[in-house]
């Protein structure tokens, strides 16, 4: 555990890629295979299911540290991370011999699952007594499934590839599905990642998908960035779940972009694919889309299916899912990723399999070229909301199917629609976690229930708020601010610092970790869509809200109203 803790600290402390790579190589050079197997798993995002409930961890920490619950909670609020809070409050450890990462995970963490809480507590405390601060921190992180470290998967792959003298692509391919939670990685799995190329039989890929090729956001106008429109295959950008469908040996596997196996969650997709030939891999999008509907349901509908492992008939009928294919990666067992986008697309369309749906192309009329064709596409893009899509995808005709975000082998651009925007008022704040611990970075925003007549009327509401004088109930015309969205991204560290000071200065009340603040700040929020939501007081839920900027120039009384935002919704749904 000590070596892995040292690696974690090196990766966590450094911001330089070179240093991180060195640290990774140093670790893999000395780690026994069974430890390296788990290290790769955790570093590339693998999360075992939570072995011990958070409540048990907290209770054990209070017992072992002798702190009352309230004092532990105060500490947690300041630290902003449960594992770190626990690691810091426990009494100094008695140093004892230390096992490897595999020992800790397999003998001291995984077996905790399902034990009685009292037994879990006993074993957790026993483990803490053997670990130093860094070890305890990791131990709790690994138990809770909350392990994250600032290292890109690609960097882990590079470190392994360089150690094994393999092309990084090979390691990436072999790593697909490595972090799938249902199978603990062992020494043999690790050796299979780094074994010399000629020693592997490439014909048996099992149910493995290929590493996903990812698109980049188009910065600027396509006419200037992308050149000739005829170089591009244009498709709609759907707002669903990116997935690869694998057919081999008469079986079907469905992989999410997070390289999680999700076959069982979408039985209707496997049912359609059951008739397709083996040696076939498709890349595409899972969408909630009824059989007779002209367009997909909003992402919020699909969310009801995500994370559900058992699906009832009712849900299947309410939110039917289909797979829309847009790329062909393997046919008759042959890897087609070295073909161009245009060739792969042509073969995909030619497949003609029963029930296979192919994402349509958006093609400008033949007589349009250059700027006129881009203008035609921009116009189609502006119809995105009414079509239930996020914009357009531009895929270069000559693009090979690369790995991850690399641009070396080809380009895919996301040409998304501009977000919907609203000016909203900050009303609650909560401190962030991780590097934002102790800084108020998570905000709740409100809109006016109707437009204030003037600055004075809005001021009267603010005065009432600062007197903790709630708006009169049952009077729909009484002016008030209605919370409608939470956001925590989009500002720079400097801007967060400014807002943090403002929040501390204008705090009205604390509700646990949440502060209510006297409204003083207006923010321009961006979001992707609006759906009706009976669960929210505002009656609406917005998709992916984020802060675009602070509107210091905008007086509070001119912030937007709920009705105004609902009208945006009317245009968007």
């Amino acid at each position: 555990m000590r070596e892995f803790a040292a690696l974690f600290e090196a990766l966590d402390a450094s911001t330089a890629t070179g240093d991180k790579l060195l640290a990774l190589q140093g670790y893999f050079a000395q780690a026994p295979d069974e430890d390296a197997a788990w290290a790769v798993y955790f570093l590339s995002g693998g999360k075992p299911r939570q072995a011990v409930p958070t409540a048990v961890l907290r209770a054990a920490a209070c017992v072992e540290s002798g702190l009352d619950d309230w004092l532990f909670e105060e500490c947690y609020q300041v630290v902003g991370d449960l594992a770190e809070t626990i690691a810091q409050v426990l009494p100094a450890p008695a140093q004892r011999p230390d096992g490897g990462l595999a020992f800790w995970v397999e003998a001291r963490i995984l077996p905790l699952r399902g034990l009685a809480p009292a037994e879990q507590q006993r074993r957790v405390i026993e483990a803490w007594r053997e670990l130093d601060v860094a070890g305890r921190f990791l131990y709790v992180k690994l138990i809770g499934g909350g392990f994250r470290v600032g290292v890109a998967k690609l960097l882990v792959q590079r470190a392994l590839a360089e150690a094994a003298r393999l092309p990084v692509q090979r390691v990436a391919e072999r790593m697909v599905g490595y972090t799938d939670a249902r199978r603990p990685p062992g020494a043999a799995d690790y050796r299979a990642l780094i074994v010399a190329d000629h020693a592997v039989d490439g014909s048996d890929r099992g149910g493995q998908s290929y590493p996903f090729f990812l698109a980049h956001a188009l910065q600027g106008e396509p006419a200037t960035v992308a050149g000739d429109p005829r170089d591009w295959i244009v498709e709609w950008k759907y707002d669903g779940i990116r997935a690869q469908l694998v057919r081999r040996g008469g079986q079907t596997w469905l992989w999410s972009r997070g390289e999680e196996l999700i076959t069982e969650r979408y039985p209707e997709v496997s049912a359609v694919a059951a008739g397709w030939p083996s040696g076939l891999v498709l890349d595409g999008e899972l969408l909630a889309w009824g059989p007779d509907a002209t367009q997909p349901m909003p992402f919020q509908a699909l969310q009801k299916r995500i994370g559900r492992k058992t699906i009832g008939k009712k849900l299947l009928a309410e939110v039917p899912v289909r797979f829309l294919a847009y790329d062909l990666l393997e046919l008759d067992g042959h890897d087609l990723r070295r073909l161009t986008q245009a060739e792969r697309r042509a073969r995909l369309v030619a497949l003609g399999l029963p029930g296979l749906e192919v994402s349509p192309v958006v093609e400008p009329p033949a007589e349009l070229s250059g700027a006129a064709a881009w203008a035609w596409l921009a116009e189609r893009r502006s119809e995105s909301r009414s079509r239930g899509v996020e914009g357009l995808m531009l895929k270069h005709r000559d693009a090979l199917y690369g790995i991850g975000r690399s641009k070396a082998e080809g380009l895919w651009w996301k040409y998304k629609i501009e977000p919907l925007v609203a000016d909203a008022v900050l009303v609650y704040a909560q401190a962030g976690h991780g590097r934002r611990a102790g800084v108020y970075t998570d905000y709740t925003f409100a809109l006016w229930n109707r437009a204030p007549r003037d600055a004075a009327e809005a001021q009267a509401v603010l005065d009432a708020i600062s007197r903790r004088d709630p708006a009169p109930r049952g009077d729909p015309l009484a002016l008030q601010l209605v919370p409608f969205a939470k956001a925590y991204s989009g500002l720079t560290d400097e801007e967060f610092a400014v807002v943090d000071r403002e929040i501390r200065r204008h705090t009205l009340e604390n509700f646990g970790p949440v502060r209510s603040v006297l409204p003083t700040l207006v923010f321009e929020l961006g979001f992707e869509g609006i759906a009706a939501s009976p669960r929210h007081k505002s009656g609406i839920a917005v998709r992916f809200p984020r802060m675009l900027r602070i509107r210091h120039d905008k007086p509070l009384w001119q912030a937007d109203t709920l009705d105004g935002v609902r009208q945006l919704a009317a245009g968007s749904l």
Partner: protein, 339 residues
């Protein structure tokens, strides 16, 4: 507050009604007892000043020609029937606790102080160590008054500093170590191993080094950044106040490995937010075990908390059976004053 309290809070600062003087006032007053020379405690504009003899140099370096009377450690001074004496606080050079005695009642105002939670004597102290003073009421700071703040033994921290510096020197990379100019910088200079390489300090640090050396504190030789050859610079440790890395002075340090020494570096979130290569949790303030140890040693039955997680500390002390309250002061600032 009851009528007989020896210290009360006034808009100008903490005030002793019986003796008619203030302690570390934040507004101008006729008579001020100053615990130590940090800016939030020692301000200009008072009529007469009383401070520890050990702190004369640094206080003059900061406030210039003030009307200053000094006391040796433990020496008594009577005013209006109140006995005042000063006792070492272990925070920075000259930092004092103020003991006030009147008609058999004893109160102590701690100012800022450092007490280790470990039983480790400081091998190279940069000021007289904290001395517990028995009292009825103890007015304490609480900058790091949460159980998550527990410093590691000094020897371990010093070793870690030296490993970091030596590692950089080996790779030909300057080590830029940031810490407050007064107190922290000298604590760091005394802790590092000057055999590793040359040491340079920022211009804000050197006058305080001089005051320390004049007070008899041994510090390793320090130079200016400009005086280092390019080769020396690659092996050097450079000590500077926080923020100095963004100034023109730091231009030759663009490739340096930058670190910050502060108690706030104990927490990972804060360390990562600074965006530096390293954070060393080295503080001039008592950690949680240190605060507990100091409070217990006074045997006070009443404790008043001045700054830092006051509500938590007050509740904790009350649960320990003490009479506890707090004073709102203008000292410190949870977001990062000298720590």
């Amino acid at each position: 507050m009851s009528a007989g309290d020896l210290v009360v809070r006034r808009p100008e600062g903490l005030y002793c009604p019986a003796g008619d003087f203030f302690i570390d006032p934040w507004r101008p007053v006729p008579r001020a007892v100053i615990t130590h020379a940090h800016a939030d405690h020692a301000r200009r504009g008072h009529g007469r000043y009383l401070a520890s003899a050990q702190g004369v140099g640094v206080l003059r370096a900061r406030l210039g020609g003030i009307d200053l009377q000094t006391l040796a450690w433990g020496q008594g001074l009577y005013t209006n029937g109140v006995r005042i004496s000063l006792h070492p606080a272990g925070h920075v050079l000259g930092a004092a606790q103020v003991r006030i005695e009147h008609r058999g009642e004893v109160w102590v105002v701690s100012g800022d102080y450092f007490v280790s939670g470990h039983d480790d004597a400081d091998p190279r102290p940069t000021c007289t160590p904290f001395e517990p003073v028995r009292c009825h009421c103890f007015i304490t700071e609480s900058t790091f008054g949460l159980p998550v703040y527990r410093w590691r033994p000094r020897a371990e921290l010093a070793a870690e500093l030296n490993v970091w510096w030596a590692g950089n020197a080996e790779r030909g990379r300057t080590s830029l170590l940031m810490g407050y100019s007064f107190g922290k910088a000298q604590r760091l200079l005394a802790a590092v191993d000057p055999a590793i390489g040359p040491i340079a300090v920022h211009a804000a640090v050197e006058p305080l080094n001089r005051a320390y050396r004049e007070a008899g504190i041994a510090l390793p030789p320090t130079r200016t950044l400009e005086s280092l050859s390019a080769d020396e610079r690659r092996r050097a440790l450079v000590v500077a106040p926080p923020g100095a890395q963004d100034s023109a002075w730091a231009a030759p340090l663009a490739d340096a490995s930058a670190a910050f020494a502060s108690g706030w570096m104990q927490l990972r979130g804060r360390r990562r937010r600074e965006g530096l290569d390293r954070g060393f949790a080295i503080s001039d303030h008592a950690d949680w075990p240190g605060l507990m140890r100091a409070i217990a040693a006074t045997e006070a039955s009443r404790v008043i908390v001045t700054h830092g997680y006051e509500a938590v500390m007050v509740r904790w002390l009350q649960l320990q059976g003490l009479q506890a309250g707090s004073f709102a002061t203008a000292y410190g600032d949870a977001a990062g004053a000298d720590a």
